[in-house]
């Protein structure tokens, strides 16, 4: 029996785009144990939100993650609108869901490219990212920026969609659907790519349910759960769409689910553009002070369901913002799915949940409570405490 070697991967490693540490126990080439250790990308964003009014929180929550920025603002707006008891005009809901689906398109295409790169299939990576530019240009034209769209505001959206932009978007869909069909063919037929993803990172269905996994990672193990259908929000009740699941339970299944979801999102974008209602796109009179109370809001981000919990205390600033990003739910299951496969499969198995560690590491550190008792610390002091601590303990001068 080969003795067990302990192989630490991360927090800095070529295949990890963001800092996260995984400890693997390997015997020869086979992995027998896996543990994860996150928290390296923790920026105290929620603490920051408590010192900003609701509108400013939007732009902080948008920067939790570069790829799914719209999901966080959508979930936060829904939670705040529940607290305010606001009624969003239908056109606003449609435009918000339009950008949601466009973001799912470019996020899944991005993942397909990154997964191909993890297994050394760089041509597919380059080609997929070339065609992703179609969606990125569309988003840039609509919202004014490729990444942080700042498209959501409390009560609706900030910009309207002109007729000319609408037709341009419709034209963009045709080549995108055709190219995605071509990539589906490549993904399921290229033998060297198949050899690396078929039968790797297995996660049986019952285990997926127990570990409360979410998003395409769970749907590829046969778990029929999608927040867009279970908890209809935004404009999803008005759209008909299919929830894609399959029983592959391995990375091949996750590639299939995500590629088919791209096609499904294209259909939804087409539906939304054709039946875009007229009228207002943002609620007229929005109060800046949010009444006291707590609200939970669910949103189906590209990686899974994203939960925002906002507690208001009647002032302009939220009392507590808790964000649970989808990657947090999938990480433990991803570690477990690696056990049994080879060392060479670690990158693709971890990448198969489309990890976004910047989303996962933002739990708050210190609560600021100006009204009810001693003031503890502000974000500024927390920042200097960090700088000071590293200077004393690690001798690092920022």
């Amino acid at each position: 029996m080969a003795e067990t070697i302990h192989l630490p991967i991360g927090p800095q490693h070529p295949f990890l785009k963001e800092p996260a540490k995984f400890d693997f126990d390997i015997q020869g080439e086979e992995i027998v144990g896996a543990r994860m250790n996150i928290g390296y990308n923790h920026r105290g964003l929620e603490k920051l939100c408590e010192e900003r009014n609701y509108y400013q929180c939007l732009y902080i929550l948008e920067r939790i993650c570069g790829i799914c920025s719209h999901s966080h603002t959508t979930a936060f707006c829904q939670a705040t609108e529940k607290l305010l008891g606001l009624e969003i005009p239908k056109r606003g809901l449609y435009l918000r869901t339009l950008v949601c689906e466009l973001e799912r398109l470019h996020s899944h295409l991005l993942w397909l490219g990154v997964a191909a790169h993890e297994v050394g299939f760089d041509s597919l990576f380059m080609l997929v990212w070339r065609d992703r530019e179609l969606v990125m240009d569309a988003l840039e034209a609509i919202s004014g920026n490729r990444v942080n769209y700042a498209f959501n505001t409390i009560g609706g959206v900030r910009r309207d969609l002109s007729e000319e932009q609408r037709t341009k978007l419709l034209e963009m869909l045709k080549p995108l659907i055709e190219r995605t069909g071509f990539y589906a063919n490549i993904g399921t037929n290229e033998p060297s790519f198949l050899a690396r993803i078929r039968g790797v990172g297995k996660l049986p269905k019952q285990r997926a349910i127990d570990m409360c996994t979410v998003g395409p990672f769970a749907r590829a193990s046969g778990v029929d759960r999608d927040a867009r259908r279970d908890v209809p929000h935004a404009a999803y009740p008005y759209l008909d769409f299919k929830v894609i699941t399959n029983e592959e339970c391995d990375i091949y299944g996750r590639v299939l689910v995500r590629v088919l979801e791209i096609l499904e999102s294209c259909k939804m974008v087409k539906q939304m553009l054709e039946t875009l209602p007229e009228g207002e796109f943002v609620a007229p009179k929005v109060m800046r002070r949010v009444p006291a109370g707590a609200a939970v809001s669910y949103y189906e981000a590209p990686r899974g369901e994203d939960i925002h919990y906002v507690r208001g205390n009647g002032t302009e600033k939220p009392e507590r913002v808790k964000v649970r990003a989808p990657t947090m739910a999938n990480l433990e299951a991803a570690c477990e799915s690696v056990v049994g496969s080879f060392v060479a499969d670690i990158p693709i198995a971890i990448a198969s949940i489309d990890p976004c560690f910047s989303c996962t590491d933002r739990t708050s550190v210190v609560l600021n409570d100006r009204r009810r008792g001693r003031r503890v610390t502000t974000w500024g002091e927390l920042r200097t405490y960090g700088i000071d601590w590293y200077r004393r303990n690690r001798g690092i001068h920022f």
Binding site: I38, G85, D361, T363, L367, E381, T384
Partner: protein
């Protein structure tokens, strides 16, 4: 799927006083600490098994843990923990996904999940001082000595 109104099943499971329903159709259920496990087992019977996260808050008089479950219906269990005995029975047996979130609440709030299989540091760095639980209101941070840098603001 959501058309089926879960009001009937849930009132059967929980005493009427604890069950409230938000304007958006989400259910909020106050649950006592010791009855948490069988409340979760009851929900599992109804097919609601996906525990999304565990939210820990310090409400000054007591701690509040909310367990949002997403399934056919959205049910959030609210558990009050009194300040002097910060423990809660672990759900690791019935819901494997809870392991990660219970570690997190132990790190930031100091509520130890009794019977948790593998209590490691989840969120905070290894060399974080043991007794300091950052999310609590009475936590004290040593005053910073370095002035903030960057620009002249």
């Amino acid at each position: 799927m959501v058309a089926r109104d879960w009001q009937g099943e849930l009132t059967a499971l929980f005493p009427a006083g604890d069950l409230t329903r938000g304007s958006d159709g989400f259910f909020w259920v106050k649950v006592d600490k010791d009855r948490l496990r069988d409340a979760v087992a009851g929900l599992k019977g109804l097919g609601i098994t996906n525990l999304s996260t565990i939210i820990a808050e310090d409400m000054r008089e007591h701690y509040l843990l909310s367990y949002p479950f997403l399934g056919a219906a959205v049910v959030t269990l609210l558990v009050k923990i009194d300040r002097d005995r910060p423990e809660v029975p672990t759900l690791a047996g019935t819901v494997a996904g809870a392991i990660v979130y219970e570690r997190e609440i132990r790190d930031v709030m100091g509520i130890t999940p009794v019977g948790h299989p593998d209590l490691r540091r989840q969120v905070l760095p290894e060399d974080w001082p043991a007794g300091v639980f950052p999310l609590r209101k009475d936590v004290t941070m040593p005053a910073p000595t370095v002035a903030p840098q960057g620009g002249d603001k």
